[in-house]
Amino acid sequence: MLVGDSGVGKTCLLVRFKDGAFLAGSFISTVGIDFRNKVLTVDGVKVKLQIWDTAGQERFRSVTHAYYRDAHALLLLYDVTNKASFDNIQAWLTEIHEYAQQDVVLMLLGNKVDSAQDRVVKREDGEKLAKEYGVPFMETSAKSGLNVELAFTAIAKELKHRSMKLPNEPKFKLHDYVKKEVRGSGCCRS
């Protein structure tokens, strides 16, 4: 389930992941919540992701609340060019604690890193906040595609490991995996 303030790029991130395209041009606001499927192959196993894309606006809060508890994983997004969306992350985390399941897989994403000149939230700020709450963190760009695939794949791997519970397999460490695989926004431009 994708959550976060309105306009941070939840739908764009999903469309980039699903269709490999970027929704350029006008802003389309999601109405309510939007349900889509995507089948991924993770380590040779097919994983069907059922993805809820949510509307960030306050008036849809009640309907998103109702579906938090069904979610196995949450991608919490903010927009690195919008300080308010970052400041609201705390409120979102509170909400997640209240409504989501205890063992939900959670990941914090700072989106829109392609707009380097408009950036107001530093990468370190995101990292610091993520560390504080103990959640994996990465910066993404739905426009350039940076780390988009990774975010969803990491979630899929984690969920696959949880559901299969193979005794001989070493425990999948989401944090380490993300740390190892994540690419900085810098390397893309160079």
């Binding site: 389309i28 999601t30 109405v31 939007d34 349900f35 849809f60 009640s62 609340h65 109702a66 308010a84």
Partner: protein, 549 residues
């Protein structure tokens, strides 16, 4: 005046329910109504209607709201609508149950004194909101801004901007302040401002506490019709928030900035205003059906009917802004206005094209105090066929989603998929099918079913302005026919570029556009032929056997 339009009525059904009308000359409003009894006109449903036929909110306010909404026969025959008053309306509303939604509760929480500061959006959020609205904000000091044909403003009673069709609300806050001052000034004298007419402009006010809606228009529409459009905007806002929540918010905090809750909905309201400028559905207060062979429609309807769930109230299949099928819970009726709001919601966002959306929606004419939850999805990506399943249960997404799957499966099994595709290829019919040379276009509404039919608008109305001009002419005829102080039943209008005829009876409304070369006698003859044709085609153009679960 087409005083003798009704003389020849060979097309009428010989069931004795005709109004007495031999040789009467319908002299404006004085004459008895000619035409058919309600329920037997072409397009009337065989087993009752799909839409609301009870005394509705509009009926109570009809003198100011215009009469373009479906009315019950009782209402029309019985009591006059004049007794309307704000007291009556608020009484009606106060009798509604006041079930608070999750959102409203959240708000309540936020509105506790200690948290007041949080309510004022920071400059940051404001900036973000204006980015989010997605429309190019115009400079309100420019001439181009002044030149728009119709401005629409919504403000709170505290004079705070809620919505402006053009330009940013912030830039207009002083203008809106003046508007509120005008409203309050007259109210202090126990009066109400309804409109200002000056310099070719009509400034129309509609007061629906806690909101004030204002239009500044240079169109040919009557004050009544502009007010009617403003009401649609009001209902649009209610459909997002519910009446209960709207009132609750302003009771708690009079100067609440409602834009915060409406963020992202500007596009929906903009779209509604654009739609009203070129779709006659709103003027007619009725719904247009996709032309479809009755056998195919019946198969679609019964597939919908079988794919039911406990929490489902309405299952609606639509294409563009035309209805394909509507199945409803027994004894539950949808109001055309609510259906129009649903149509508008779907046409205003491309985000429904993929995936399945699940959204709270209030149908204000059905019940303005609570939310339904609507499941919205397109059947196939390339096909313009949208399925709308309206449920009472917020938690029921997966059940309702399964209804969609079952519906599609049944469609496939019945093999109507291909026929549906064919029908979608020609969503409009040509007026040439009627076979009347001088006939250019018409709108026919069956009052008992709340459905209307109309051919595609063809040459010479090709340009967008020409189409709007034609709709403007219909609006003019409609406003003359429904003028609350002097309603007309028959109108024959001769203009430089076309002749028009309007005929309004208890059972139907007909507006016809002819080439300017025809005669009145010819036009009247053509009406008979046209009515015969509609009767012949009615099972394709209308939904005659509405289904219930």
């Amino acid at each position: 005046m087409a005083a003798d339009v009704h003389k020849k009525k060979s097309w009428e059904v010989p069931n004795g329910s005709l109004a007495p009308g031999d040789g009467q000359h319908a002299e404006r409003s004085e004459s008895p109504t000619p035409g058919l009894a309600q329920g037997t006109e072409p397009g009337a449903g065989q087993e009752g209607a799909m839409f609301v036929h009870t005394r509705s909110y509009e009926d109570l306010t009809s003198p100011e709201d215009g009469a373009a909404v479906a009315r019950s026969p009782e209402e029309r025959r019985g009591e006059p609508a004049e007794q309307s008053s704000m007291e009556q309306i608020s009484k009606d509303f106060s009798e509604l149950s006041t079930q608070l939604t999750g959102i409203a509760l959240d708000l309540e929480e936020e509105m506790r004194p200690g948290k007041e500061g949080k309510l004022e959006p920071s400059p940051q959020t404001n900036r973000r909101d204006s980015v989010l609205s997605g429309k190019e904000e115009e400079d309100v000091t420019m001439d181009a801004w002044r030149m728009h044909r119709k401005h629409v403003f919504v403000l709170s009673e505290a004079g705070k901007p809620v919505y402006s069709r053009y330009g940013s609300e912030e830039a207009l806050s002083s203008t809106m302040g003046v508007m509120m001052a005008l409203v309050s000034f007259l109210e202090a004298e126990k009066n109400a401002i309804r409109s200002i007419h000056a310099d070719g402009y009509k400034v129309v006010f509609v007061r629906r506490s806690p909101l004030v809606l204002v239009a500044v228009a240079r169109t040919q529409q009557s004050e009544q019709e502009i007010a009617h459009e403003l009401l649609y905007i009001y209902y649009q806002i209610l459909s997002l928030l519910t009446w209960t929540q709207l009132n609750h918010i302003f009771q708690q905090k009079q100067n609440y900035d409602l834009r915060r809750l409406l963020a992202g909905s500007e596009r929906i309201t903009d779209n509604l205003l654009d739609l009203m400028a070129h779709d006659p559905s709103f003027l007619m207060g009725a719904v247009r059906c996709l032309p479809l062979a009755a056998s195919v429609r019946d198969a679609v309807s019964s597939s919908l009917q079988q794919a039911k769930a406990k929490s489902l109230v309405f299952s609606i299949l639509l294409s563009g802004n035309q209805l394909v099928s509507l199945v409803r819970k027994k004894d539950q009726f949808l109001h055309p206005i609510d259906l129009h709001l649903l149509f508008n919601l779907i046409s205003s966002s491309s985000s429904f094209r993929e995936g399945e959306a699940w959204t709270p929606i209030c149908l204000p004419k059905f019940n303005s105090s609570g939310f339904f939850h609507a499941h919205i999805s397109y059947l196939e990506q390339e096909m313009d066929l949208c399925l709308l399943l309206v449920s009472t249960d917020r938690e029921d997404f997966f059940t309702v989603s399964d209804c969609k799957r079952r519906f599609q499966e049944r469609l496939r099994r019945r093999g109507v998929h291909h026929a549906l595709q064919e029908a979608l290829r020609t969503p409009f019919y040509s007026v040439a099918q009627v076979g009347i040379p001088d006939l250019r276009h018409f709108i026919y509404k069956s009052k008992s079913s709340g459905l209307f039919t109309s051919p595609e608008i063809e040459a010479p109305y090709v340009q967008e302005e020409e189409k709007e001009r034609l709709l403007g002419l219909y609006q003019y005829l409609h406003s003359r026919a429904h003028n609350s102080s002097r309603p007309l039943k028959n109108i024959y209008f001769t203009g430089p570029r076309e002749n028009l005829l309007a005929w309004v009876t208890n059972a139907f409304e007909l507006y016809v556009c002819y080439s300017p070369l025809g005669t009145k006698a010819g036009a009247i003859n053509a009406v008979n032929k046209l009515m015969k044709w509609i009767r012949k085609e009615e099972d394709r153009l209308f939904i005659l056997t509405p289904q219930t679960y």
